[in-house]
């Protein structure tokens, strides 16, 4: 090991090691300057210590020495970091993320079934052909698992057009709780095809003796550790991320929910308020960083869920979802993430996107007046004032844009667009390019961009 060289973290992490003397400088300091200053000072420090070490030549004390050296440097690093933060810029990086899952609980499924009385198995055991297969009641469960995993059960059910209640309950239980991937995904595949057969126009629907309900799904989600009151501590979520992730069954759960909703027009498994709750749950799940890899699945699922409302339900349900979300989501990057995760590719998700944005503006401004009044209170924000919360302004920018342009509101009330343009102009003109307040440049750039679009349309 080269003790004379700089310590690993020193040379690699100049970001956190700017010099102490920068505070008095003028505003425009490139990080390169900070870096080179820092290296100068650091090399002085190291030279000094090298001399000391060469003088003593006692290697046994190296450890201690190294520790003290580390301590000095880490203190120094901390100081510098704090100063960097004061200079500004770093606070611009705010992350979304909530921890939606806590400890998993032992499943307390209310699904009761007895595979021994499965008609399918019994019928076969009574047939002549069983002399070739030798199926006995003892290995019935094993045999059924094989049928399920290899896809026979699905084909059998679809070909025969009927599925008995025991098989339904058994497979749903596997879907929700089985720790084995092949079992839960095959069970999920089986359920999806049975349910989808209900809406197909050509083939006859599979006759189902037993239909699942919302309670079962909620129970399962609860046992995965889903929290109804999410903790807002992002750092905690990141640190403990491993213990905070739901079991893999959540994927099957999501696919199942999506399909249940897709067939809702023919076969309503959930009530209106239950679908509203599901939509909300999905949006919350989109805020969990541990599930980021599932965001495509979550969004598809959300589209299916909001697509399942009947036309007459939708207007009030959309309002309910938006209200409930807006009142509970923390007022930080999370509220932007929510809006942006509603994809806006179809009419319903556009509507939801717009409405959630609106409700969040209402909550943020504590405002219940007309749209015009709402816009004028935004226009009255004095961005030059030092106490002005630019972060909040940034959030307003994104929210208002989504509120206005994900709906037809602007066509109905053109005055809103003019007011919006004034607000944008304020944001892009009142903030100078050298403004070092957190989020100043983000607000400025965003507003300038949006203003371009506003004028060119």
């Amino acid at each position: 090991m080269n003790l004379d060289g700089p310590l690993d973290f020193e040379s690699e992490d100049p970001l956190v090691n700017p010099p102490a003397s920068v505070e008095k400088r003028k505003k425009v300091i490139g990080l390169d300057d900070l870096l080179s200053d820092f290296y100068k000072e650091k090399s002085k420090l190291i030279d000094k210590q090298n001399k000391k070490r060469k003088a003593s030549k006692v290697y046994d004390s190296d450890d201690d020495e190294q520790h003290s050296q580390e301590a000095v440097i880490s203190k120094y690093v901390d100081q510098c970091q704090n100063q960097m933060n004061e200079i500004g810029g770093e606070e611009d990086i705010q992350e979304w993320g909530l921890s939606m899952f806590g400890d998993q609980k032992t499943p307390t499924s209310s699904l009761q079934y007895d595979l021994d009385s499965c008609c399918l198995l019994k019928e076969f055991m009574n047939s002549q052909l069983n002399s070739l297969v030798d199926l006995s009641p003892d290995d019935g469960a094993n045999f059924l698992e094989g049928l399920l995993v290899n896809g026979w059960l699905k084909k059998l059910v679809l070909t025969c057009g009927r599925v008995e209640a025991i098989i339904c309950k058994w497979t749903l239980n596997l879907l929700l709780y089985s720790p084995k991937e092949d079992l839960r995904s095959s069970a999920c595949g089986l359920w999806c095809s049975i349910l989808l057969s209900q809406t197909e126009d050509d083939g006859a629907p599979v006759e189902i003796d037993w239909i699942p309900n919302y309670q079962l799904l909620k129970e399962a989600l609860g046992s995965y550790g889903f929290k109804t009151n999410p903790s807002q501590d992002v750092e905690l979520a990141e640190a403990d991320s491993e213990s905070q992730v739901p079991p893999q069954n959540i994927r099957a759960w999501l696919k199942f929910v999506a399909v249940c909703c897709q067939i809702r027009c023919k076969n309503p498994i959930f009530s209106t308020s239950q679908v509203e709750q599901l939509a909300e749950i999905l949006v919350w799940l989109l805020l969990d960083r541990g599930l980021q890899g599932l965001s495509l699945l979550l969004q598809e699922c959300l589209i299916s869920v909001i697509g399942s409302f009947k036309e007459e339900e939708w207007v009030s349900s959309c309002k309910n979802i938006a209200n409930s979300l807006a009142s509970r989501v923390p007022q930080d990057m999370n509220c932007l993430r929510i809006v942006e995760s509603v994809s806006g590719v179809d009419a319903r998700s556009k509507h939801l996107r717009s409405l959630i944005s609106y409700q969040m503006i209402v909550v943020l401004l504590d405002h219940k007046d007309s749209d015009e009044k709402l816009m004028s209170s935004l226009m009255s924000i004095n961005l030059k004032e030092k106490s002005c919360n630019l972060f909040k302004t940034y959030i307003f920018l994104v929210l208002v844009e989504n509120w206005l342009f994900s709906s037809k509101l602007v066509e109905e009330k053109p005055v809103l667009k003019d007011m919006w343009a004034v607000f944008l102009r304020n944001c892009s003109c009142q903030i100078s390019s050298t403004d070092l307040r957190p989020f100043a440049s983000k607000v400025r750039t965003k507003a300038a961009y949006l203003l371009q679009g506003c004028i060119s349309n």
Binding site: G30, E123, T159, R251, G293
Partner: protein
């Protein structure tokens, strides 16, 4: 505007797209001084970093650590192109930038967001589609993630995928399933990239092939991205197919992987299956064109994918069973099994090309094959050649695939097949009483019997 926007002239939105391009891309450029900080993030590639000043815009934000700029850009494109009723299609330069995020994005969030945006844009603004008048419409100079063109290296090409890169990607996929030395992010990124590329190939190939079936216009398929990709001299087709097969067959322990990885792995597998099925479709269409004499020497000769797959699966029961279990495209699964079995089934008569000898055709249907098993000597010969386990696996999977396909004539009806299956298995047992049926074989019998009972 530069020539990149030419492609969108047909969409009559030129001035809008031009403005949009300038404005969204300006957003990417506005990172300004913060780029310096970002440089530190990429510690391992400090040398690449030095070169980046010579690249154009996308690299600036791609190497940005927080990715907020990239996300803002993606969100801006979404707001302009997807959310409005009449969205403005992105220009080619913008597409390239979005694809740049997918290829080099530094956070999972960036990669998923760009993947999603690209696929949604593709749906909204297809490059190849069938018009209402059943004509194939191909957008001129549409952007493509692939670059099969000349070797001139430029910034644009740095982002585009060349045919050699595609092969490399599949090779990595094959190696990477159980390797942990690569970072999770890189694995995730490759999987998303592969899935997207297959998606592009499919959206290009499917409408072309559909119109080809009606018009027999081979040039439609000849110019398809898939054909261009496979025809490239940089692609070793045989290795490509082998890598696909072994990726599909590789064990994947879901319990040890993160949720994201498991989900993505499933996506990769189904993309891989789609790719194989697509290549076999192309081969079939090509064969048809060959027979009609509408191909020429320039089209080259390639071993059909199915032959390579069947060769690969022969003599390896483990590979065979895994492959058939994962590969669930019923049509092609049935074809593969039939091709496999016909090699071992005694030919009833000498066949000539294009003969419509019913007996010869017989050995090409599942029921025809099953019937050969009802003769004791045949059954004995075949099991002797390939083993009774393999026979059970092959026949079983063919049955499974057949249960999904709905088209049937009198002879090949499901009930007929079930009866033939049962008699074939019974015969196997009669020929060799020591035969132990695999659990899979028992499941075959169970299903055949229960279907018969239900249909009775």
């Amino acid at each position: 505007m530069s020539k990149e926007t030419k492609g969108s002239t047909s969409r009559a939105m030129n001035s809008y797209s031009g403005g949009l391009e300038a404005n969204t891309l300006a957003m990417l450029d506005s990172t300004g001084a913060k780029d310096n900080r970002d440089a530190n993030e990429d510690r391992t590639s400090s040398s690449t970093r030095l070169n980046q000043s010579s690249f154009s815009f996308p690299y600036k934000f791609i190497y940005s650590s927080d990715g907020i700029i990239g996300l803002q850009f993606l969100e801006a494109v979404r707001a302009a192109s997807l959310v409005p009723e009449i969205g403005i299609p992105p220009t080619n330069k913008m597409y390239q930038a979005i694809f740049g995020v997918l290829r080099f994005g530094r956070t999972l969030e960036l990669i998923t967001a760009s993947f999603q945006l690209l696929t949604q844009l593709h749906q909204r603004f297809p490059w190849v589609y069938i018009s209402n008048s059943a004509q194939l419409e191909i957008v001129d100079e549409a952007w493509s993630p692939f670059n099969f063109g000349s070797d001139v290296d430029s910034d644009e090409k740095e982002i585009s995928v060349r045919s050699s890169r595609f092969q490399q990607l599949i090779q990595d996929m094959n190696k990477g399933v159980n390797e942990s030395e690569e970072s999770d992010l890189k694995i995730l990124r490759n999987k998303f990239l592969f899935e997207y590329l297959v998606h592009v190939l499919k959206f290009d190939f499917t409408p072309r092939n559909q119109v080809y079936q009606e018009t027999m216009n081979w040039s439609l398929l000849k110019e398809s991205s898939l054909n261009l990709l496979l025809a490239s001299r940089r692609v070793n087709f045989k290795f490509l197919m082998k890598d696909c097969v072994s990726t599909i067959c590789a064990l994947f322990d879901a319990d040890e992987k993160s949720i994201s990885l498991v989900d993505l792995h499933k996506g990769t597998l189904s993309a891989m299956k789609e790719l194989l099925a697509m290549i076999m479709e192309l081969d079939a269409s090509k064969k048809k064109a060959d027979m009609e004499g509408i191909t020429n020497r320039g089209d080259g000769v390639r071993t059909p994918a199915m032959e390579i797959i069947v060769d690969e699966l022969t003599y390896d029961g483990y590979l065979l069973s895994n492959f058939l279990q994962v590969f669930d495209d019923s049509k092609w699964k049935l074809e593969i099994v039939i091709q496999y079995l016909t090699k071992y089934i005694p030919k009833p008569s000498v066949r000539t090309r294009r003969s419509s000898n019913p007996q010869a055709e017989d050995s090409k249907t599942l029921n025809g094959i099953l019937r050969t098993f009802s003769s004791g000597t045949n059954a004995k010969n075949i099991t002797k050649k390939i083993g009774s386990d393999i026979v059970q696996i092959l026949v079983g999977h063919a049955f499974l695939a057949r249960l999904t396909l709905s088209d049937s004539n009198e002879d090949d009806s499901i009930t007929e097949i079930c009866k033939s299956i049962i008699s074939a298995f019974t015969n196997l047992k009669r020929v060799d009483s020591k035969i132990e049926f695999l659990p899979f074989g028992k499941e075959v019998l169970f299903t055949a019997e229960m279907v018969l009972k239900a249909k009775a």
